[in-house]
Amino acid sequence: MNRIYKHRLFWPVLSLLVLIVVNTIARPQFIEITLQDGRLYGALIDILRNSAPLMLVALGMTIVIATRGIDLSVGAVMAVSGAVALTIIDRSGSPGAVGTVFVAVIVAILVSLVLGAWNGFLVSVLKIQPIIATLVLMLAGRGVALLITGGFITTVNSEPFAFIASGYVLLLPVAFFISIAAIAAVALVERRTALGVLTESVGINPEASRLAGVRSRGIIWGAYMVSGTLAGAAGVIYASNIKAADANAAGLFIELYAILAVVLGGTSLAGGKFSIAGTVIGVFIIQTLESTILFLGVPSAQSPVFFAVVVVVVVVAQSQRMRGAIARVGDAFRKQDAPERDDEKVEVAR
């Protein structure tokens, strides 16, 4: 029992379960999953499906954060990717053809890969601080996306394209399988090869790892490329979900939610050790929280406050110091923990 309690994923998982229980008590339908036209249908399934874009972005963010970096451009990359894909499909003569959609998706993801490579170049070769380097694209990228769509929302009617986000295979949403594939790919590459350890070593001490013969440049560069590519795929899913390229709204603030998911999952923003399972749980917490706001009927004006309060409670509850402090008694813990609490609030407010 004690070991379970001490596991670093104990608090994230507990928070997720508490949210699910609260929702179910408020509205028992929350937990209900029914079979409808050969597909599973229910609030939990919606959470699995709707979490796909954030999941992909957060996975990329985890790797980037592990290298002591941060990628603020993911939302803008999503917008560009969606704009590229939709414009190709819209301009082609045959929006309904599988071939068109395939080409559009591949091109969109390649463009995102290039954008990720640009970020990586700025950070790993030119040694620009990650927050500044990716800020460039964060600000400019959405403008580029608007330029591609001409300031309008490009809408297409394309069955194969809509299938990416709204389709079902084997009772479950396609978007969920894309999430699973991305999680599996990242986990395999990072955990079944030495790459994960090398990434962590670069994050923990870049200088020491360089002296030990780790080629940090390639590892950092690669991290941003992975992040860009995953953000591109997320942009395609987002666009497919609404069958439209909404350059203004696509991926807006997703970089902050992704960072939040990574932090909720127990990965430190200081870089180094990272947890893919933690990020996955973090994403589900955020997505379930969105549903909770709806299911509890929190009024719109209060929902950001509700969101913030829950996040602060979860983050504080899982902080090492806080848990240590609970064990001890006295005023001392307040002084120690106050700054940390403030940090988290800023995170959310932004």
């Binding site: 919606d46 001409g150 300031g151 979900n241 609404i242 439209a244 549903s291």
Partner: protein, 334 residues
């Protein structure tokens, strides 16, 4: 609270920019920065007009910009200096300052936020440049600007509500997809609608913000469908077309037929919305007309000619049912 924060931000940022003197120009937006003349205001019959647009955040805004550019074209005797502020209130105030410095004949502003305009409007007044507000309004005293041209959001909501109240005489359960929390269109459209359906057989089950976006509308509608079930919801009121389009996706995914099993009423009448209305997926749309350019150009000419103009000009909005949408669709400009 948020507004006050924003205006404080705007003031501080403006102060910083004023110190930086001539740091005007493009800062990352699509078409930020000025394109066009710096040839003062004294060049014969051509009227130089500075237009400070909010940015290009939506299809509605793009149509509005187009309308302004057409109305203030060279053929109509104008020289338009256009600036899109990328939804940054500080940048917009700075753009207006640069119009004043350039000595334009008149300034048209589509304010991003309501607050924080007093100083710069006073400067324009001192320089003898009349200001026309377009679309949104400001909290500054109304003797600081010549006129306002825009739309009545409350009336839009009311029209939608009147349709709903007349259409649904049986007990009806409605859910609402609100616009961005705290924004004027969201507040006024809610008020107008609620007043119109007061005492009718419509019950508001739930209301949540979808942030005026398709994704927001879809996600919130999915939540409502899970929470109440498809059969419990009869009517959706969306504060704009984009959220209604998102709701259509959600309703279809839940295995119901939008426009039939669940009726939809919305506001905006952008092209995609009108298409969905013509296809029978939406039942009623009240227009939010972005073509304010012509009226604004008229006002500018009248003010410069020294005529008396009304402080408020409201451009009338139309409303469409499915048949009207089909008829209007072919020559829809936006």
């Amino acid at each position: 609270m948020k507004k006050r924060f924003l205006s404080t931000l705007a003031f501080t940022a403006t102060a910083a920019l004023a110190l930086a003197a001539c740091s005007s120009g493009s800062d990352g937006g699509t078409d930020a920065g000025t394109d066009g003349g710096s040839d003062g205001g004294s060049s014969g019959d051509v009227i130089t007009v500075g237009f400070a647009q909010t940015g290009s955040e939506s299809g509605w805004r793009s149509a509005n910009t187009e309308s302004m550019k057409t109305a203030f074209s060279a053929e109509n005797g104008f020289d338009l200096v256009f600036n899109a502020a990328d939804n940054d209130p500080a940048a917009q105030i700075q753009a207006v300052r640069s119009f004043i410095n350039q000595g334009v004949d008149a300034i048209v502003i589509a304010p991003i936020v309501e607050d924080g305009w007093d100083d710069v409007l006073q400067e324009a007044k001192d320089a003898g440049i009349p200001v026309i507000l377009e679309d949104r309004t400001v909290t500054a005293s109304d003797d600081l600007y010549a006129s306002w041209v825009g739309l009545d959001f409350e009336l839009e909501g009311q029209k939608a509500g009147e349709w709903a109240a007349a259409e649904f005489t049986e007990p009806t359960n409605m859910v609402v997809l609100e616009g961005t929390t705290g924004s004027a269109p969201a507040n006024d459209r809610a008020t107008g609608f609620d007043n119109a359906i007061a005492g009718s057989s419509i019950t508001k089950l739930d209301s949540q913000t979808g942030d005026f976006t398709r994704d927001g509308g879809k996600t919130v509608m999915e939540g409502f469908l899970q929470k109440y079930g498809v059969d419990e919801i009869d009517l959706v009121y969306a504060h704009n077309d984009d959220m209604a389009l998102g709701a259509i996706e959600a309703i279809e995914a839940a295995g119901a037929e939008p426009g039939v099993d669940i009726k939809i009423v919305s506001i905006d009448a952008v092209r995609d919305g009108m298409q969905a209305l013509a296809d029978g997926k939406i039942n009623y749309i009240v227009e939010c007309n972005p073509l304010l350019g012509e009226k604004a150009a008229e006002l500018v000419k009248a003010v410069l000619a020294g005529d008396d103009v009304d402080k408020r000009t409201i451009v009338e909005d139309q409303a469409f049912d499915q048949a009207a949408a089909e008829a209007a669709l072919p020559d829809r400009k936006y």
